[in-house]
């Protein structure tokens, strides 16, 4: 109960602080552009690290692969405002491990996900953007032990990311992004570092 009070207090404090700063003119309104609206495509690929020891219990004598591929794509709508909104999806392997079952037989488990996330983004420095948003993860377990089994479940979750991009032209930028992808069903998230290409494919 005490923790909840602190949490509510801190959330209110942060929201109040954000509100105060977000009312500043140079925060809410970007420099005037000839065509104020645009759609941007972000394509990213890299590696993710699953930092938790949970998820592969000792009784299975696990050999965990914590570093796995993380590939994502997002489309962001860039309005005449600093806050952008969009959708992100992709394919993430949270972790996988080799196991030894009770009978001594070997097997393998991997936990993967297709995230579908609503995202919000702000540019806090030139070329430097923050992204965050809630959504769902379509999780799937691939089990290879005494036969192959694929089992799916939808989990709520969220992501947060920071990206730095260098413009190559008016339409194309490249950059790097660090992100935290979290599905509540897995309890722990995966930290990813990706290379990124941004393509401004529509302006109006």
């Amino acid at each position: 109960m005490q923790n909840n009070k602190y949490f509510v207090f801190l959330v209110l404090l942060v929201l109040t602080t954000i509100k105060v700063y977000s009312q500043a003119e140079d925060i809410t309104s970007p420099p005037e552009r000839e065509k104020p609206y645009a759609l941007l495509l972000f394509v990213s690929g890299g590696l993710g690290y699953f930092p938790s020891n949970q998820g592969a219990p000792d009784y299975l004598q696990p050999k965990i692969s914590r570093i796995n591929a993380v590939s994502t794509a997002r489309i962001m709508w860039k309005p005449d405002h600093r806050v952008k909104v969009g959708l992100e999806t992709g394919y993430v392997t949270f972790y996988s491990y080799k196991l030894t079952g009770e009978s001594g037989k070997q097997g393998k488990v991997s936990l993967n996900a297709v995230p579908i996330l609503l995202e919000f983004s702000v540019s806090v420095k030139k070329h430097f953007n923050l992204f965050a948003g809630p959504g769902v993860y379509i999780l799937n377990t691939n089990l290879d032990y005494e036969g192959k089994t694929i089992s799916k479940k939808v989990s709520t979750g969220w992501m947060g990311a920071a990206a730095y991009t260098w413009p190559l032209s008016k339409k194309v930028s490249i950059g790097t992004e660090a992100k935290w992808l979290y599905a509540s069903e897995t309890t722990r998230g995966v930290f990813g570092v990706q290379l990124q290409m941004v393509y401004k494919f529509l302006k109006w």
């Binding site: 923790n3 949490f7 801190l10 942060v14 602080t17 954000i18 700063y21 500043a24 140079d26 925060i27 949970q54 998820g55 592969a56 219990p57 009784y59 299975l60 949270f94 972790y95 996988s96 491990y97 196991l99 079952g101 009770e102 009978s103 037989k105 097997g107 488990v109 991997s110 936990l111 702000v122 806090v124 420095k125 923050l130 965050a132 999780l139 799937n140 377990t141 089990l143 032990y145 005494e146 036969g147 089994t149 694929i150 089992s151 799916k152 479940k153 947060g160 935290w180 979290y182 069903e185 897995t186 309890t187």
Partner: protein, 427 residues
């Protein structure tokens, strides 16, 4: 300047969300009850006569701030390969608090040693009683005397693992109520994992504990593995509420029995039991009288019926008064149940309408408690030779009301100790 501050705010927000997203892990482990004099070789088991004389309704004269004003003391037993273990459960008047003790005789004294637990929070601790010859043990150990008016059990209790130093005293008032019988059905085999019990819900281990919690019967949840083995599991999917996290997610029906038994452990480390393993425990290790098989799957129920009939026959062969019933919780199961040959002859518990109860010839009608006391419909069912169980009653005030104002033959609860208190304390 403002932009710089904005970055700091965002970073602080993300850091704070990450930090605060860590969840608190609640535990209520059974304390270490090792008591040197209780474990000496000269301490002997109590005989039946002494055990029986300890049963009754007691007033709690010391320790009532933790245990309430009254308690009902009742023995139960479980059978192991080597022995029969007896436990004296003290079902307290205060909301869902109980004590569970073993008893021994040491010379001319009686020792009771165990633990207490408040189910509504994580409070627990050691509890011990030492009944000396002069304070009642002499009469309790004498096979020629009757239950003792004015018998006082004096002891002490602790908090957590601390040595018991707080006084607790119970004074005998009257015998347990044993009028109209009531089935006290423990939910999920004995209790929910969320209530931080010593064993996981729907495990073989929790079934062994059910009678110590006051239950006379259990409700267990039956699902089928991908290769058709009936197992006990409540939720629709494997999840960290019920199992140790291992990367396996999704419906239990996606996995074979071999995969589940080799790779999955329930929260307290147990394996997911098969229905047969669970019924073996009921039949051979407990004195439970009633089993409610809550059907959680959509599929052919023939195997479940065959197992029910097999164990009903085994119970008869052992001279056990054991009733096993297939639960019909919804229309889907009702449809599958009706596909069974001669389904009207199968012992069942129907949670649906009175018309469905009649159509299936269910032995028991089980309306949810939110539908109220339903005196007229209950009377009609009982006149037709059926029993009426109400589910799931957990709030002590509701348990008291439904027991005393209703006319139910059974109550399903996550807190059977609370039902047991109100039942035994009835006058």
């Amino acid at each position: 300047m403002i932009k710089d501050l904005n970055i700091k705010v965002w970073i602080a927000l993300i850091a704070m969300c990450t930090f605060l997203s860590c969840k608190k892990n609640y535990v209520a482990p059974v304390p270490d009850t090792t008591w040197q004099i209780f474990n000496t070789s000269t301490a002997k088991k109590l005989v039946t006569n002494t055990r029986n004389k300890l049963e009754g309704i007691y007033t709690i004269t010391e320790g009532s701030e933790v245990f309430g004003v009254n308690a009902a003391l009742s023995w139960s037993y479980t059978i192991t390969e080597a022995d029969t273990l007896y436990h004296l459960s003290m079902f307290c008047e205060k909301q869902v608090v109980y004590m569970i003790c073993e008893g021994k005789r040491l010379d001319s004294s009686i020792l009771l040693n165990g633990y207490w637990r408040n189910m509504l929070n994580t409070e627990t601790g050691i509890v011990r009683f030492n009944i000396t010859s002069n304070s009642g043990a002499k009469e309790l150990l004498d096979s020629t005397t009757s239950p003792l008016q004015g018998l006082t059990l004096s002891g002490s209790f602790g908090i957590g693992e601390a040595e018991p130093t707080n006084p607790v005293s119970l004074q005998y008032q009257r015998p347990l109520y044993k009028g109209s019988p009531l089935e006290i059905i423990a939910h999920r085999g004995g209790g929910r994992t969320a209530d931080l019990l010593p064993a996981s819900e729907n495990s073989a281990e929790i079934i062994k504990l059910a009678s110590r919690f006051g239950a006379t019967g259990i409700e267990i949840d039956v699902r089928l593995t991908s290769d058709g083995v009936p197992v006990l599991y409540h939720d629709g999917t494997l999840n960290e509420r019920l199992i140790q996290k291992n990367g396996l997610i999704g419906p239990i029906e996606n996995y074979s029995y071999r995969q589940l038994t080799d790779l999955v452990r329930l929260i307290k480390g147990e394996k997911i039991p098969t229905l047969r393993q669970a019924l073996d425990v009921v039949l051979y290790q407990t004195n439970l009288k009633f089993v409610w098989l809550d059907t959680k799957y959509d599929g052919n129920m023939t195997l479940q019926r065959e197992i029910l009939e097999e164990y009903q026959q085994k119970a008869i062969a052992r001279g056990r008064d054991l009733s096993i019933n297939i639960g019909i919780p919804d229309e889907m199961v009702l449809k599958n149940f009706k596909k069974l040959n001669d389904f009207r002859s199968i012992p069942s518990i129907c949670e649906l309408s009175p018309q469905d109860v009649t159509e299936t010839n269910a032995a028991i009608w089980a309306p949810r408690w939110t539908l109220g006391l339903q005196p007229e419909e209950t009377a009609r069912m009982q006149t037709a030779g059926r029993k009426v169980f109400v589910w799931t009653l957990d709030v002590p005030e509701n348990i008291n009301k439904y027991f005393n104002e209703g006319n139910f033959n059974g109550i399903l609860s996550n807190y059977p100790s609370s039902v047991a208190y109100f039942y035994y304390a009835k006058q």
